[in-house]
Symmetry: C2
Subunit: 548 residues, 2 copies
């Protein structure tokens, strides 16, 4: 028996037309580094999105579901692209300007991008790559920046404002299937080629509703959200769409992501909400400690992308700014969990909930899978790999114009769930605590040993500066932990003392038999422990390992 | 190009499994009229819903998408039925216990209900009808009430608790299409047969997200919602589903809907939110004026079903309780608008927004259609019939087991929008103000005259007790207004004086030519002006009409 409800698709077009009418007065404010920021109403954004769509179709010949790329900071023009491109039936491809040049070349070719809209300030990054980007028929430039670097570039170059000028401010948007592609984003994995995640109109619409639910970010037209998280990073955590759905004002930093301008824009524009990764908040804290600024308007901050040090949350609590942990990834749109504590708790009682990754909304189903593939209980103790399912969760990667979608076994289960690659526990109240990346866990005789727990326990020793624990092959157990330790200057602890110290806080079967003292832990370009290097050094016999 | 997102259906089953796990500790509290209310956790509700589904399938033989009716107050057992029936693939049919007996017989037959779950206290209503309800194979009774009235009833009678006892507390819920029927509700129109609205899993899921969005009711597990609006009335405005989605505690009044017990349960259980029609809040206000009670926990109240007198909103403001207007109907699930004012206003500036019907969420598209079928601007002045479109809006009525869906021309536009039958204006900020029912508007020479505006203007005259204005046929203009006036005792105003008074506030072309003084305005059973009767009296020549 079918319902008698109307069959109305959930589309980005609908979010646009709602935002530009019902919330037509809400604003996108873009920082310019000059005395006055640029201010543009949702109604203006909507009219300009229509002009952009006309230009893309009539002038640049974009048809069907062709891909249009952006290489842009967070600003009003990027928001216009966010709505024009999917609403006309094309697919928005946000290019991550932090990708290595060869990766940028690879993803533009793989997505078969026809057009790129680029901020003038990013032309020095794009121009040298253009000869290697044959799919790009047009380059559209917006905002300040020296255009001369494009001289002699093969594709036709256009000025964004000239392209829009004089075109109709309304567009007869096509009817779209809600499962059609709206936007895509490539993950920058450390191994292999980048993987394309393709969001649908449906997934973006549902995710936007969730962002605005009171249990998540809970935003309305009474809010102004400072969107620091880049628009090329998982659609700026869905904020440009979510804000148009309920009329939330956006404050966009453009290229001014340094602590001083961020502090200045917060004090002068008084956003009520913000979203960014921990490093941004660490930099801002140092800035306002040195040069005090009033951040108190920003009552709520969504923090994700990496675990937030509790000390950072405490420091911001004192400034009247509450950091709220969220967990997600490119494959999860990204809202997977948010760490809003349950009701009726004191600040002290809330703390253990705030330092978790948070709780799943109804749209995200979760399960923990153990070393043997078994599903583990939510008891706060059983650690397994987190797998998730839901309407805004990827079930595959884009296979390219002529290829089939990719479903690598290490990323998707047989029944279609996403394997997150994160290992953790879930409490009986549904709060997730992540402990390791799956690839960093030591699989020892059918049990998992957390490398992070061992590292923290070793680093608690007063003589230890740093410690990294990695899995190494073991004939009997499959894998066993190898402890690599950096001692503080002048420290004298020996292996036996370290192991005895560790035995005080860790179960005996988890204690490493292999130890080595090294001068420094190898790091990645963003400062994380580079365990790949340690594993390779061990395999190549480069480490002086003591067994005990 | 399709997206790479997972294809996960939006189902009531998912809301249930989320609520009973992540929010397993949230509670449904049902008032019993005794010293202690009944308290049941979401986890228990979920376990009992599984038991109910087993009983319905294994014991009562409910299969496929058969209809299971409820004739119940708001209570925990009714919530169990809300989740068990749709999740097993069957269809929940909530019977409106205020329907006339012949209408109840009609809707049970039309829906082909197989089973009815009934509160013991409602058996005196059901028992005499049973001989006329041949589709009902089983009657399941729950809660207090004399069972002897069922003696000799043809269908098999079961005790709810006995039926559940000992059955498995988990159920292997089937995979369902999100467009499948989940629940149905008949509208009790004043003319013709009741019309069946069939909600889908998808419509209920999306509506639940909207209810929990901060711009709407904005509920979380920190809230307790007092659900006074009956579960047989548009799914209690979607609250049982919305609360399970985010863990909102529910306070259920069962049959204790009188002002005194409502005041008592608010003072002792301290709900933070409530939902009911204006008459409930009027009765409660009189009660707490006579017998003071602390209602201050209930900071937010959703009020709908009829326009709320501004005086009532002011009176509750003084008690620290904010009434927020919502508009909707059975055909709109029901959330159509909510009157949350825009940001940055003083209490005084908020007032003109609070007395509107409110603003549309992104999920509800709206348009105003004028007398000639033209679409009218949102200028706060152009009055037209409101038509709406969206995923939780009906596009047809149920045609019965063997019939096709019904799409009467006066209820659905050719392009599938719902004609609400309400006439009003929309401001440029998207706030809706309703003025008339479409059938009460006077269509005069291609323009519309608001009967409500004329009535209010006439009733402002000091000699007038009541006035009702109806459309009557007119050879030249199509329709013209007829003013029927009830004078106060001893008043002396004549027709000319009344017309002159009216001319001060109304455009000349809107002034009625036909006037009659009557002893009283005919009223419906719920106290509304019964304009059908006046139109018939006029047509039959029963009124003494003066033309001037």
């Amino acid at each position: 028996m079918l319902s008698t409800m109307q069959d109305v698709p959930l589309t980005v077009t609908r979010i646009l037309s709602h935002g530009m009418t019902i919330h037509g007065k809400s604003q996108v404010t873009t920082w310019t580094g000059e005395s006055e920021p640029q201010r543009r109403s949702f109604a203006e954004i909507g009219a300009r999105a229509a002009q952009l769509a006309h230009a893309l179709r009539d002038e640049l010949g974009v048809t069907g579901d062709q891909r249009v790329a952006t290489l842009m900071w967070n600003n009003a023009e990027h928001v216009e692209a966010y709505f024009a491109i999917p609403s006309m039936g094309a697919v928005l491809h946000t290019l991550n300007l932090r990708l290595a040049p060869e990766q940028l070349v690879w993803v533009v070719a793989h997505a078969d991008d026809q057009v790129v809209i680029v901020n003038g300030s990013l032309l020095p990054l794009l121009a040298p790559l253009l000869p290697h980007l044959p799919s790009l028929r047009h380059v559209v430039v917006t905002g300040p920046g020296d255009r001369s670097v494009l001289d002699g570039a093969a594709p036709r170059v256009h000025e964004y404002e000239e392209l829009l000028a004089g075109r109709p401010t309304a567009y007869d948007w096509p009817d779209l299937d809600e499962r059609q592609a709206a936007a895509m984003c490539y993950t920058s994995g450390t191994t292999g080629d980048p993987k394309g995640v393709v969001y649908s109109h449906r997934s973006i619409y549902l995710h936007s509703m969730q962002v605005n639910m009171t249990e998540s970010m809970g935003l309305t037209d009474k809010d102004t959200s400072l969107v620091v998280v880049p628009q090329f990073h998982v659609n700026a955590w869905g904020l440009p769409h979510a804000t148009f759905m309920t009329g939330v004002n956006m404050l966009m930093p453009d290229r001014f992501l340094q602590p001083a301008p961020l502090a200045e824009m917060i004090e002068s524009e008084r956003p009520t909400h913000a979203a960014a990764v921990p490093t941004i908040w660490q930099g801002l804290l140092a800035e306002v400690t040195a040069h005090p600024r009033d951040l108190s308007s920003m009552a709520r901050v969504t923090i994700g992308g990496a675990a937030c040090p509790p000390s950072l949350m405490e420091a911001y609590d004192k400034l009247g700014v509450r950091l709220c942990h969220a967990w997600g990834m490119t494959e999860t749109s990204p809202l997977g969990t948010m760490a809003n504590p349950p009701a009726g708790l004191t600040a002290e009682e809330e703390w253990p909930y705030r330092v978790t990754q948070g709780r799943f909304p109804a749209g995200v189903e979760a399960r923990l899978v153990g070393p043997g593939g078994e599903h583990l209980p939510w008891d706060g103790e059983s650690a397994g790999e987190l797998e998730v399912r839901g309407s805004w969760i990827a079930g595959a990667y884009y296979g390219g114009a002529d290829g089939e979608d990719l479903r690598p076994e290490d990323k998707f289960s047989e029944d279609g769930w996403l394997k997150t690659g994160d290992v953790g526990v879930i409490s009986d109240e549904g709060f997730l605590t992540l402990t390791d990346r799956a690839k960093d866990v030591i699989k020892s005789g059918g049990e998992w040993i957390s490398s992070v727990e061992l590292e923290n326990a070793i680093m608690a020793h007063p003589d230890v500066a740093e410690a990294a624990v990695v899995a190494v092959p073991d004939d009997k157990w499959g894998e066993r932990p190898l402890a690599t330790v950096v001692l503080k200057e002048g420290a004298t602890a020996d292996y036996a003392a370290l192991k005895a110290f560790l035995a005080r806080s860790v179960a005996k079967w988890q204690l490493p038999e292999r130890w080595t003292i090294i001068p420094a832990v190898p790091k990645t370009s963003v400062g994380k422990f580079d365990k790949k290097v340690i594993r390779r050094q061990y395999a190549d016999g480069e480490l002086d390992v003591t067994r005990l």
